[in-house]
Every structure is written in C-alpha cells, then in structure tokens.
Amino acid sequence: MTRPLVGTGIDRVDGRKKVTGGATYAAEVQVANVTHAVIVGSTIGRGRITAIETRAAEAAPGVLAVLTHHNAPRFPGVTAKAEANDRVVQGLQDDAVLYHDQPIAVVVADTLERAQHAAALVTAEYDAAAAVADVEADLAAAFVAETARGPAQISRGDVAAGLAAAKTRIEATYTTPVETHNPMEPHATIAVWHGADQLTLYDSTQAIFNVRRRLSAMLGLAPENVRVINHFVGGGFGSKGAPWSHVLLAAIAAKATGRAVKLAITRPQAQSLVGHRPKTVQKLELAADARGQLTAIRHDAVSETSRFDQFIESCTAVTRMLYACPSVATVQRLVRLDVPTPTFTRAPGESTGTFALESALDELAQAAGIDPLELRRRNHADRDPETGKPWSSKSLLECYRRVADGVDWARRSPRTRATRDGRWLIGFGCATTTRPSRQLPASARARIGRDGRAIVQAGTQDIGTGTYTIMTQIAGDALALPIGDVRFELGDTALPEAPPSVGSFTAASTGPAVHNACVALRQALIERAIHDPASPLHGLGADAIEAEDGALIARGDRKRRDGYAAIVARSGQPEISVELHTEAHKDRDTYSVSGFGAIAARVRVDEELGEVRLDRLVGAFAAGRILNPKTARSQLIGGMVWGIGQALHEHSVRDPRTARMVTRDLADYHVPVHADVPDLDVVLVPEDDPHVNELGVKGLGELSTPGVAAAIANAIYHATGNRVRDLPITPDKLMSSAPR
C-alpha cells in the first residue's frame, strides 16, 4: 500500500506558484480594457453631506465617471441584512455619514494614476455632528447585547456566595485596543457585467458564497447570475469574511460606466473600510478556596459597535467553559460609537477574552501563592462546564506538561523580579488557549477522467491556510491516488457550495465533504467495475475490492485489477463524477468539541528603557487529527505571531476629538516584523477523536492566538512586578513605574 497522504507534512501543492509570482490574486486577474476606481472617503465622523463638488474631477483627463449619492444607481436592497454576520455597507445611496472615511464618491478613470488624482479633486461640505470614538468615553451607555455566540448573559450557581466564601479573591479591569487585520493583500474587486443582469466578481474574499448571496440581494439579481471567483487570497483574518462597501461600489461603478472596473482599497482605507477588532473593557472577579479551586467567576465585558450595525466581541465565551467552577456569571455589553462596524478578527472573543481571564488567573495565583500553571491544572474542567456534556477529546493537561518542559518552567522562581541577566529582568508566564470546533454543512464534487486522474472541487477558499494542500491529501487518500494525480479546485461559485474560510472550520467542514465525495466516487467506480462484464473485477462483491494507486484490486488477488482510466473509458463518458453534500457529524449533539492548548513564555525586560524581548515562546496544541503537520505548524506559528502583536504592538488609534483614524498606515499601525519574532516552539499533541467528523479533525487556524498575550503579560509581570492590564505593552507602560 502507498503511504497515506493525510498526516504527512508534504509541501504545499500551490507552493511553486507562490514562490514564482504565479499565484494570481483578485486584482491581478487580467481583464481586457479594465478601468480603475478609487473611493473618496468622508472627512467627518457623523452627519450629512450638504454639498459635493465633482466638476474638477469630472474634467480631469481620463475620468469616465464620478459617482456620488446624487447620481449613483439606486439599489433598495443595499441596507438589508439577512444574517447576523452580514455587515451593513455604504453604497452611495444617501447623504448620511456614519463614520470617518466612509465612501462618499467613487471615481473611475482609464488609468490608476488618473483615478487617484481625480479622487483627490472631489470635495464635500457637511452638516457635521459630534462623533464619539472611544468605548470608555461612553461606558454609561452600554447595553446588554442580544446574543454573543451563545447567551449574552449567563449566571450559574451562586456567584455572590462563591465570592463571599473565598479564601482568595481578585478583581481587575483589563482593556484591549482596537486592532486592525491588515492582511498583506489590500481588499480588491474586479467587477465585470455581462449584459444587464449577469455579474462576475473577482474578489479577495474568505467567503465567495457570502459575496454571491449578499451582492445578488443588494443588486436585485438572482444568486446564480452572480459568479464570484477567487483562486488566491492574500490573507483575511476575518476582514474578508463579509463583503464590505468596496465590493458593492465596484459593481455599481462597473454598471454605471459599462466597463470592467478594478477597485483595490488603499492601505489607509484598510484601517476603516473593512472592519476591525473592537476595543474591549473587561472586568473580572475571581475567587478561590485555599487549594486554589475556583469558587466564583464574574466577567463583565463591554465592546464597541457602530451606530448602524451590531458586532459583539464574544470575550466571555471562553469564561463560560474553560475552568471547572460552580458559580459563573458573565455579561456582554455594547456601546454604540461613530465608527465603522467591527468584525471577526483572528480568534474573535477568545483572543481578547483570554487576555483578561488568563491575566486574572495569574493575579489569583499570585494572591493565593500557588504556581500559576498548577492553579490551572487544579481547575481543569473534565466536562464542559457550560453544557455539562463530555468533551469529544481533550488533551489540555498534556499540553501544560509539554509547555512546562519547553520553557523550562521548573526554573521559575515563585517570586517576581527574581532573575536578572545584566540589564535584563527575566520572567516566565503561561496561559491556556481554546477555540470551539465547528462543522458546517459543505458540498464537494469528485471526478475521474479518462486519464485516470481526479479533479476534486469545492467552493471553498485558500486564504493561506493550506486548503489546496490538505484537500488534495484527503482526496488522494480517499481515491487511492498519488498526490500528483489529484487536482483540487476552489474559489469559484460555479463549484459546489462550501462554507466560508473563517472560524477555523474549513478542515473540519469542507474536509469531510471532500472525503465523503471521494469515497462515494470510489464506490461508484467499484459498482461499475463489478457490474461490468468487461472488467477483471466483474462479479465480485463490493467489499472484496480495494483501491490502490489509481486502480481497483481484488482483495487477495492482486492480479485482478481494473484501472480508473479503463473504467472511465469503458463507461463511454468523458468522466465519472459524484457530488455529495455533507452535514455535521451526528456525535456533535452528544459531545462538546473544542481544541485546547497551552502557551508558555520566557521574556526579558529592560525596564530602564521599557523594552521587551521574547526569549522563548512555546505552544502545545491539541486539535484532533493533524492533516498536514507542516502547514498545521505554520498556521500555529502564525497565530502565535498574532498573539505577539496583540501583546506588544498592535493598536489602532482614533483621534479623541473627531473619531478619525490616526494610525492610517503600516508605519503607524505596528504589526510584528521579523526582528520581533524569535524561533517559536510548537508542539502538536495528537488526538484520536472519533466524534468530531469522519476525519477526526477539529481545525486549528485560530487556536494559537488566544493565551499568547496573557502569557507574555504574565511573564512581564513575573520579570518586573509590573502588571500591565492594558494592551499593547509598549515601552512607556513598562518604564512608567520602573525604578530608575
């Protein structure tokens, strides 16, 4: 038998394209006679447009159209929102200004340079109202959200009694800033109309079917008349999950000009037009008995949303399920601000929630005099405390053990400020991470052609996670084909529908769909062979057949063999094809399914200058079966780098007076660079989980971000005695209380 592909760290099947420049992202599709569109943004944060001056722009060389709310085609469906995760977009339909940089005009010209310059010639006058930009400026207006990935407000047990009876109790407030996704590829759309009611969009999206559903609804088209294509996506991290205004504007501009239109947003626009992680203010109360067993948790989270749409950063989701504790109360509240709508950002809820919870746990450990890692072990939840269901699998204790080894936790002094190396203070910190595993319905098609090779298709996306590669592996194993004989296709709404590439659920959703479609195709080939008198396998029972290397073989008689190519050839058809829809695994009703992990950090802090360097960052993760250790490790490393950014660098700032974004580019919005990231240690703890799906895979794209910021903050505290509860931990926050 050939070696199974799944579980092997093969190189990415699209690797060659990516290292030679051959991968084609949305804005790079060669469309004949394409024109260029540029968005003009508002310069107030709230109010109405009273006048908009477009004559200079219209007169500028090469300009084809200047669209504003005065002349843009009207689409009544634009403001409608069908699902909670849809985002309300702005498409030049009225004079309202809801946030700074909101699109108020679109300029289309024959070249990019001409469109850019003409866009700068558009000016507007406004009737402006005061705009509020900071959740802390309006905390009194906070209201309880409707839902927050589960109930917005829960209370179980008797929290007041649990707090009162405790031996140790801590209370603290943590804040996390606005973060902006900033994928390297700026969002871009090429819109091409074919007649009045057929539209093709080449769009940088994590969710081609979402784009089709939303754009067809907004434009009043039948969904099947909108085709969305997207073979490579330059990162998304949540910001490309729902279509934003620019997608609609590209379609409108193409409609208005009768030309193909390319619209790529600028980096400054990427700070305001495509979502962000909202600021959060989280108050935690923890109480524990003498052994450190938690007796009560209260978690009150407030996050920002826009005035015209609702997004909830579900910080408390993790608090409801992570530790065994009899009394837990959580609430999610929202404050409406004059800002664009926030959205899902890598590990939404968990990354912000664990910073607060895992920092608080560290404070509790300090107060109780218990080793922080040991405190977590003692509060391990053996069943899901929220649902009472058993875990489908959980290897968190093993993860704790592995990170303790990896960072040499045994060397950690129980005291703070205990270890010094020259100018550097050294500290250790740890945290737990978790992410729920979901499986969404998905469809896939598998085809064998006359060459005996397979084409397997699903309308999913590869946003850098390795979807092309793992689906090829899954298909290769299910069809018993070598990797080179399988081509996996994605990124086109003409393919069977698969869910968005969000929420870490592609491997666990589209993976089983691809597997099942391929297994069904193999069965179809077997059925044909055993019923075909011309087949060497004719007359055998289906279960007497096995597949190997592109052929069916009689079990126990390897000489009786029928190649896929031969079976297809005899069928008289160009190919044999199966399309199959897969629903979530039945056991998911019986079990709680989550990935778990642990993070440990060893940091050094130069407290005179406030500088932090990561000595070691170790993560151990258990997420079911690992389809490809190489790409899995890459995703986990990437998630940890996001945690480093969250801990030390990332912070979008709005002007306190105007609500306008101040950090408008990548020089002011700091993401980690090479020099900030040491070699990271990733431990994959294998799990054999029969309950999650046919493949035993949970998904891990976001598992490694939560916990990292807390582990680093906890290590900084251990090094210096300085507890920073407000991210990011920049030099000024460390030197402010440092002794000279």
Binding site: L609, P656, H670
Partner: protein, 326 residues
Amino acid sequence: MKPFSYVRPADAGAAIQAAAAGGARFLAGGTTLIDLMRLEVMSPTALVDLGRLPLAAIERHGDGLRIGAMARNTDVAHHALVAERYPLLAQALLAGASQQVRNMATVGGNLLQRTRCPYFRDLAVPCNKRAPGSGCSALEGYTRSHAILGTSASCIATHPSDMCVALAALDAVVHTRRAGRERAIPFAELHTLPGDHPEIEHVLEQGELITHVELPPSPFAAHARYVKVRDRAAFAFALVSAAVGLDVADGRIRAARIALGGVATRPWRSVEAEQVLVGQAPGRAVFERAAAAALVDPKPRRDNAFKVALAQRTIVRALELAWGTP
C-alpha cells in the same frame, strides 16, 4: 499624485537650473518625496531627477570624510572609512528604516526627511506644516510620537531622521550649490525650529542643491554609540534615540557629543549636556547629570510625557555603552 513635469538633467548645472523655478523639487532616493506625493501632501510642479548625476562618491578628505549627497544610506553605513572613523553614523543609518529604504535613501534626501506626524500626512485635517495657517491637529490630538523639545504653538511634529542625529553629533558641514554660488552650512544651522512657520524646515533656498556632506576628523570613534528605543525591534521610528560620543584622555572626558532624536522638532544637539561631562571622569553619576541637563524645559503633551524620562535614560544608556560600561 498631481501631474508634474519630469526633468532628467545632464549634469549638476542643468539640475540647478531646472530646479530654479518655484514648485520644482529635486528627486533623490524618493523615499520621502514619492511617499508624500502619492498622498498629495507634497505636490511639486516639476521633479528634477538626480539619480544619474555623479554625486555619490564617499572619499577621504584630509583626515575627515566627504560624502556625496547621492550616496545611498547602505553604502555610507558599510563604507570602511565610516565604519572605522564614524561608527556613530553607521549605527544610526543601520537603525533606520528597512533594507530596501536604506538602499534607496540618500544622504542629501535624508537631511531633508520630513516629519511622520500622522496629521501632516492626512489631507483631511488641519496642519500648519502642510497648509500654513490651517491650525495644528496634533496639539490636542494623539501625541505619542510627537516632540517635547523645540516645539511651538504652531507645530509639535518630530524630526524623524536617525542619520541626522548622528550628523548633529559629528559636527557635519553641508555643502550646497545654487546658480554659481557654493556655500558650506554647519549642521546646527541647517534645520530651523517651527516657530510660527513650521512649513519652513531648513535654510536651503529654491533650487539649492546639496552636493555633499563633510565630516571633520572625529575624536569620538573609540567611544560612540547610537541607541534607539522604538515600539518594535526594527523598522520603526524612534520613540527616543540618542547619539553620543566621548573623547576620554587620562581618565577625564576631554570632549563629548550628545544629540537626541524622536523628541524634538529638529535634530537636537544638547551642548548643555555635553558641558556637564567635560572635565569629568566617566561614570553613571555624571552621565545622569548630563542626561538631566539635556532636557531643558521640555513641553510634553497628553500622550508623550514618558519621553522626558525615556530620553534621559536613553542618554545614560548610550553613554554607558559608549564608555563600555557592561
């Protein structure tokens, strides 16, 4: 970007002639100019491209050094004579920007690098430097990156250059040419304070071409250090930087240089701090006294008060490293 006429001159004389008209700008490495033109923060009517002119030589000049205005940051930083005699300059250059920007940016361009104030870069808001008289958005705005020294009621924008901090400490002289006239400008006289006219940043006139920078012989090579504190470990502008040099003989400091970056509206040399050191034996206590003297009447705003202490600590650190304190 607004349309502009493009001139690729045959020689320096033609370049100076082409740039004589108001609105014309020299194009050197382009790392500031093209960036700001794309934002339409700067909109020259004509670009005079210096890229092909022979202004890039780095040569010995007596016991000093002569660096052509078009010498790229990378070439200066790795030049053997710079490494040997002016390590402060090499350190400052290598602490700045990225590999790519250092390969493009020139010495002449870096002298005229413009501020990174986010309000300066955003056409939607007032800025006295960009649109004289429109007001300063930074004063009551987000001021984490802003200056605490040399500020005015019109402008608190920070001068962003690393190279200039080292040149301030190295007594550089900037040589220029314009319409047959050549002049030598001591570094301390090149940049102006914002005052009521933050749009004016230096004493150069329209069409005045920087030809080269001269560095006098330096007694500080043995004890020099550039320390830069920033929000990430590379590719970030300084929160605070300090360029220091010590000339020590017989256990006493004979001469010293201290210059600051990230905290002032122009490259900031502190003669006051240097004087504290002269005649003293090197050591932490005297370094701290010098650091305290360097911050004369700082004017912190809402978000940058930490820079006062950070600047002092950075000076102390740079002096310790320059002197060789472990």
